[in-house]
Symmetry: C2
Subunit: 110 residues, 2 copies
DNA sequence: GTAACGTACAACCAAATGGTTGTAGATGAG
DNA sequence: CTCATCTACAACCATTTGGTTGTACGTTAC
């Protein structure tokens, strides 16, 4: 998934990826430092395969990337994806602020 | 759903709500002006009931609220929900910036 | 070389999601 | 009053999601 020029399905995947507390925790952790997939799996009360799937969801959403390192696969945060998601919500907020400013204008001139 | 002090399932619902292009479009539209549910339904190539469900998802996520107005139900944006979601992503980004700053420090100090 | 580790992936399952149609109740218009 | 409109909600369906176990394979350690 390329990070700029996001298609609507890309944005779907991005927010879908955030809609799970385990995945949000993974994002926070791998932002601070790299983890192997089994290193991550050890943190949660679920199977290795389940965590592996969560990492795959984050990878498809371009929120993390994996780097092969010997027999381990190191997972690290991809800041571009996170930044893009934040930016989208900021744009939605901007629409609201524009409307609020317009209403204030009308009241002032009214 | 109370907007501050969000539980993890609350945050799940918040991001889940954004993970659909029709719902994102509804959020943008009702931020600019109120729509009745049928007014919204007329905009999309799906049944009234489907749009009604999307509005219900947004309502459970505290992103919109409905106000009864005669026989119509006017849907409008709830800015608190949007703001909270944006804030969460900003916090995640902050973690990344802290790490970037720490790395810069280490490099500067050798 | 062999055993243990880390990963990938298939098959399976229950529950949730996103859509449909149909029914029924309030409200407004003529 | 009656009819059309707006909404709510149930029942149903296909697909996706989030989990499981099992198997296979490359890599590392001993």
């Amino acid at each position: 998934m390329v990070v700029d020029e996001l298609s609507e399905p890309d944005i779907d995947r991005l927010f879908q990826a955030f809609a799970d507390s385990t995945r949000r925790d993974i994002v926070r952790r791998v932002t601070v430092e790299s983890y192997s997939v089994s290193g991550l799996a050890a943190l949660y009360d679920m199977s290795f395969a389940a965590v592996q799937k969560h990492v795959a969801v984050l990878e498809r959403a371009a929120l993390v990337s994996k780097e092969k390192h010997g027999r381990e696969q190191l997972v690290r945060a991809n800041h571009e994806g996170l930044h893009k998601a934040r930016q989208l919500l900021s744009e939605y907020e901007a629409i609201w602020h524009q409307r609020a400013a317009r209403i204030a204008d009308i009241l002032a001139q009214g």
